[in-house]
Every structure is written in C-alpha cells, then in structure tokens.
Assembly symmetry: C2
Homo-oligomer: 241 residues x 2
Amino acid sequence: MPKAKYAEIYKDLKAKIESGTYGFQELLPSENHLIQTYDCSRNTIRRAVSALVTDGYVQTMQGKGVRNIFQPALKTSFTIGGIESFKESALRNNQVPGTEVLHFAEIHTDKKIASHTGFPVGAELYYIQRLHYLDGKALILNHNYFLKDVVTDLTREIAENSIYEYLENTLHISIVTSKRIMTVEKMTEIDEKYLDLGDYNCLAVVSSQTYNSDGIMFEYTQSRHRPDYFRFQDNATRRSM
Amino acid sequence: MPKAKYAEIYKDLKAKIESGTYGFQELLPSENHLIQTYDCSRNTIRRAVSALVTDGYVQTMQGKGVRNIFQPALKTSFTIGGIESFKESALRNNQVPGTEVLHFAEIHTDKKIASHTGFPVGAELYYIQRLHYLDGKALILNHNYFLKDVVTDLTREIAENSIYEYLENTLHISIVTSKRIMTVEKMTEIDEKYLDLGDYNCLAVVSSQTYNSDGIMFEYTQSRHRPDYFRFQDNATRRSM
DNA sequence: GCCGATTTGTCCGTATGTATC
DNA sequence: CGATACATACGGACAAATCGG
C-alpha cells in the first residue's frame, strides 16, 4: 500500500523514465518544477529522487540537474536490491514455478549450525530442503532454517507451496531486512544428485539472514543456484562517509 | 571530506555500534535523545540513522525504537554496497597487492563490443587486460574498457599502478554510480592460462558500468575472480514502493 | 573575471499521523 | 487513555556548484 506521497511520485517518475518520456542522458525537470507539478514540498520531491538514485535510474549533479541514466536494454530479470520470493520473481517473468520438498525436519541448533547460520545454540528450528523448478528445470536447491518461536506451525504442505505467502498472509510477519552473501562453491553430492549441472563443477551460492519487523533474525537460507541461470544485480554509489 | 553533519553522526554511531557501546539487539537512544546529544535537528539524525539502515547496521521500528542488528562475527572483507578499487580493498585488509598488464590497446567500439559494454558504436576506447595478485597469488583477471574522451592519456605505466588513483588524483574524475551484474561463467583459455583455478572449471564474474559526476558512462569492466577468493555482500530491504 | 540566475545539497523548526506500550 | 517513538510532510534559510551574459 504505497499511499505515501513520495512513493507515488517515485512510481510516477520511474514509469516516465522507463517509458521514455525522459530520454537516456536527458535531464529531468528541476526540483522547483517538480514541486509545482506534484504540488508538494521540496523534501518530498527529494525523497522520491533519492530513491531513484539508489535504484540506479538517475544521477543528481549539484548545480546542473538530475540526469536519466536508465538504459532499457540492460533491464534485468531480477529486481534491484529488493527482497523477492522465488515464486514472485518467477511469475513476474512469466515462468512456471515448481517446488519439491526433499527434506522436512525439526531440529535444535548445535554449535556447528549456530556458527554458520547465526542462530544461538539450542534454538528450535525447522530445517527444510527444497528444490525449485522453473519451466520444468531444476535450478535452485534451498536449505532453509526457520526459528520456531517466530514461524509457528510450519508444515510440509506449506513448504510445497510458498513459505513466504504463509509468513505474510497467515502469520502476518513482514520481512524488513535481509543480509546476503554471494559466493561460488564446488558442488556437493546432493547438488549433483538433484540439479542438472551439465559440465559445471560449481554453483552460485547465496546465503542470507532475514529479519522480521521486530529486528529478530528468524530465517537463515542457503540458496544453491545452477550457474547458467544465476544473475545478481546491484548499484553502488561512492559515498562521502 | 565528510564535513556534513549527518555524515559525522553516522560515523560516530557506526563506531559505537562496532565497538559494542550498543549491544547486539539493543535499542539505540531515541531520536529526541540523539537530537540533544548531537545538538542538531531531527532531519539530520534521521539521515544518519537511515544510512545505517541501508548499510545493515540497524533496523527502525515505528513506535518502538531503533534496534542494533550488527553482528561482528559476520564482518566481511569487502565493504558493503560501496565502490572500492582493488588496491584500496587489498590495503585495508593488510594484503600485498600486485598488478600485471597483459594487454594494452586503443580500439574503436564495434557492434559486438557495443552490445555487451553499453558504449555507442564507434567510440574510442582504451582496452586493457590486467592480472591482479594478492600476496603473490593470481586472483583476478580484469578486462577494462575506458572512454578516451573522458580518460585521457592513459598509459601502460599508469595501468601497472592504480588506474583509479590516476582518475581521482590526476584527472579529478569522481566516480559516482556503478551498476554491477554478478554471474558465474565457465572458464576460458585465457582464464586457465593466467589464473590458478585448481580443479574449478568456472569463476565468478562481475560486469560493471561506471559513471562519472557528469552522468557519463566512461568505464566498462569485466572482473573474473577465482571462486575461492570471491565474496560479495549486500543488504536488501523490503520497500513499500 | 565577475555577477546574477538556476539548481542541487545541507540544515533547521514545526506540525501531524501512526504504531507501541 | 496518555506518553513515547518513528514516519511523513511542509516551509524556510543558506551553502555550493554550474552556467550564461
């Protein structure tokens, strides 16, 4: 529900950039002009523009203006810097998703698990292995750990559908922050068994910790991707801090 | 030169978080309290805290407070979401960097190069292949393309040292935005020849477009990393927009 | 080179809304 | 219900960079 005014302006400007209303390398209307267009304060405009900067759509230049640096040809299949579930991103790209639950267990955190997940020793967890298909091809092998205190009454049936839908719609858990680390690892026997790796002997691995709105880490997931279907995008900005 | 007040507050709060003044999962002082501590306006505090949020140090909770979610154990060897040169990151981690220039040429953009770099056809470029060492090990093979209009008088000698130092200190070009895409690719003959890949048959590839302060894309670089020394971190936040 | 107009960057103060306790 | 805390929005002031005359 983006009812906030700055979010509406962000959406509108983004649409105009993507549709070509402002051409590549052109300047957007000045802040003063946008203030009149959207009938709002300068701060509100600046928040919207600043969000476009962090998303890599525009670049601000003191004394000059705001330049559109969006190139449609480089549009990627993943959203930039956001959090999105497997099912969401599949549907957005018009692909047919599928999920197979390989393993479903309730465990306690031991020292080894604690050290690589970040959960405290002794915490009760759900541990789930899932295989994700896209258009019939096995592309991703997920190892999920969920904190039972937060994610209550998880079942194999839910895991076969979308866990994220269950979290949001039933448990009303909102995901706020996710820390991710991307590495490349050699394949294991399990990878080889379930993923069709061709002659690759390694895969792209994304390890992530997810926090809910109380600031509690309730999920640790390791996603192991088939290399040829993996792609990860971000925008960096040099900061003065 | 971070003389901006919000940047100072950001630095100070970050230092207190990293040093343990505020413990993991604890709440920071409220905005009103911080206003008195730093003798500034509410907006200024909010800018500093908001930067800490995007860097994954804290999480704000409406009605409750600002929670510290920084775990020192997970501190990484790369800066989060920033732009940093090879030499900078090597020195920051107390490692000895080395660079070997494999190829140095001046070329024109043809259709093929244009399509994967994003430069217009016909643009004059420097094309440089460099091998980067860390503590004597060949870890990264870089393919750099620089726009001659912007990066003037580049030489092999400069390429042997730090091109980024030349850009910033001599040409006074400030890097503002960098769009990066991370993939995993099978090794080529050149990779195999120069990088010690062991029994890996693929590597981590970062392709990036870099923009200067005029909003002009002046660099395209493909960085090919030895998998076992590659690590990429970011923080994602779910947005209402 | 200087000056004024334009444009973005920083900072302040205030008011109101919303969520939590 | 009231107090506290963060979220949104407005308006104003001055600084810094750019550009044209």
